[in-house]
């Protein structure tokens, strides 16, 4: 008989296997795995910001600190996960051109995820409205962060990151409205924090994702004014004249 030939498992083995069938895994492990997967996806997307693992972040943090004109005490001593430009392939794309141009054609915005149509998809080309932003998204005035003790700065960075990470992952999931809530929270707590630039980049991305084009353009314009040398949102271009 097949079952005899197969030789039954011992009662111990059967009991242990039954427990194994019912087992679940560590919640922290799962949460980290998801965050890491989302970050990997984000690197593939055109969002302009991405979370990177702490080891990769070191070099980027140094680069970004030079960009901001601040000096990180003890170069390389502070290691933290942070927001950074996503994807090497388009760090080189779209050097922002700061001159204002004549009205330009608009390229079709990307389809919103999940098949939801948030705004009537633009036809292939249309003439951009020429108005200057009338009511830019409220942005607190930026003062360069005062130099702080390294440890408290790193701790605050971690807090800022914890505030902004939901925004980033919401964008990754396509939940742009949720992202704006997290962005507003960070704005409230750290209006000119170390991640203010990333926050504003995320804001542009979230508004764009929501299909709020005028608001997105206004936020983008403000962003360019505040951070003219920023490599974030490098996918944004000024349009050449037609």
């Amino acid at each position: 008989m097949l079952s005899k030939w197969l030789s039954r498992l011992s009662p111990t083995a059967r009991a242990l296997l039954a427990e194994e069938r019912a087992s679940t895994e560590d919640e922290d492990v799962k949460a980290r795995a998801l965050a890491r997967a989302e970050a990997a996806l984000e690197g593939e997307r055109w969002s302009g910001v991405a979370l990177r693992r702490a080891e990769e972040e070191r070099a980027l943090a140094l680069r970004s600190s030079r960009r901001r004109g601040a000096v990180l005490a003890g170069a390389g001593a502070v290691v933290f996960a942070g927001l950074a430009v996503a994807g090497v392939r388009w760090a080189a794309v779209g050097t922002p051109d700061l001159e204002s141009r004549a009205p330009a054609t608009v390229v079709t915005p990307p389809p919103p995820p999940h098949g939801k149509v948030l705004v009537d998809p633009a036809p292939a080309s249309r003439v951009e409205a020429a108005a200057a932003p009338t009511d830019p998204a409220p942005i607190a005035s930026v003062a360069p962060a005062a130099p702080r003790a390294r440890s408290s700065s790193a701790k605050e960075y971690a807090i800022e990151l914890a505030l902004l990470e939901p925004a980033r992952s919401s964008i990754a999931r396509g939940s742009y409205a949720t992202a704006l809530t997290a962005i507003a929270k960070h704005q409230h707590e750290y209006p000119s924090g170390q991640l203010a630039e990333e926050r504003e980049a995320l804001r542009v991305r979230a508004l764009w994702g929501l299909g709020q084009e005028p608001a997105a353009r206004a936020a983008a314009a403000s962003f360019r004014k505040r951070y003219p040398r920023s490599v974030l949102l490098s996918w944004m271009k000024s349009a050449p004249a037609p």
């Binding site: 097949l2 197969l6 030789s7 039954r8 498992l9 011992s10 111990t12 083995a13 242990l16 296997l17 427990e19 194994e20 069938r21 087992s23 895994e25 560590d26 492990v29 799962k30 980290r32 795995a33 998801l34 890491r36 997967a37 989302e38 990997a40 996806l41 593939e44 997307r45 055109w46 794309v93 779209g94 700061l98 001159e99 204002s100 004549a102 009205p103 330009a104 054609t105 390229v107 079709t108 990307p110 995820p113 999940h114 098949g115 951009e128 020429a130 200057a132 932003p133 999931r173 396509g174 542009v204 353009r217 314009a221 360019r224 004014k225 996918w235 944004m236 271009k237 000024s238 349009a239």
Partner: protein
């Protein structure tokens, strides 16, 4: 210089956002299964997270090949098996070094607390079953996949599947016998 006209252009994309969201969703839904499978396949606790992420990257790469109408787990188990095997080949040892000590000295303390003693016992005993046979054992005894489906999934004849199951059962029981009763016979 004032910028009042900015155009947001679409970057040539990688995977479609909707597609990769689907992949992420499957990953999220099956995380328990994936982690459990990796552990049953002998990946040490300290390596699980990295190997798990490798699985996700493979899922992304192969997402277009995956027939969404079919159940995910057979596909996922295949990926897990290949990635776990590759991990071992690269020299990462399995949970047990000599199979006699039930402690996994490389598990993080908090992970040790989270696992029941029974679970650790089973995972330790499983390492005594060679991978090819262990796959059949896990699929049948834990994932409760019918033998015919296992044979198809692993692309082996049905008799081979049964043969592996038979040997694996004996190997598992022998290992448990040693661990539970503290037998002196080394695995």
């Amino acid at each position: 210089m004032a910028i009042d006209k900015v155009v947001l252009t679409e970057r040539p994309a990688g995977p479609e956002p909707a597609e990769s969201n689907d992949c992420l969703e499957v990953y999220r839904r099956e995380l328990d299964y994936l982690i459990g499978s990796l552990r049953r396949l002998g990946v040490p606790t300290s390596d699980v997270e990295d190997v798990l992420h490798e699985i996700f990257l493979v899922m992304l790469r192969r997402w277009d090949d995956y027939d969404r109408a079919r159940p995910a787990r057979p596909w996922l188990f295949g990926i897990a098996f290949r990635v776990a095997s590759g991990h071992r080949r690269r020299g990462h040892r399995e949970l047990a070094s000599d199979g006699v000590e039930p402690e996994d000295t490389r598990a993080r303390p908090d992970q040790q607390l989270a696992d029941t003693q029974n679970r650790r016992l089973l995972l330790e005993a499983l390492t005594a079953v060679p991978m090819e046979r262990r796959a059949v054992l896990i699929l049948h005894e834990v994932d409760e996949v019918p033998m015919r489906d296992i044979a198809e999934q692993l692309s082996i004849p049905l008799f081979t599947a049964y043969s592996r199951l038979r040997k694996a059962r004996r190997e598992l029981d022998a290992a448990l016998n040693v661990l539970v009763k503290g037998g002196s016979r080394a695995l």
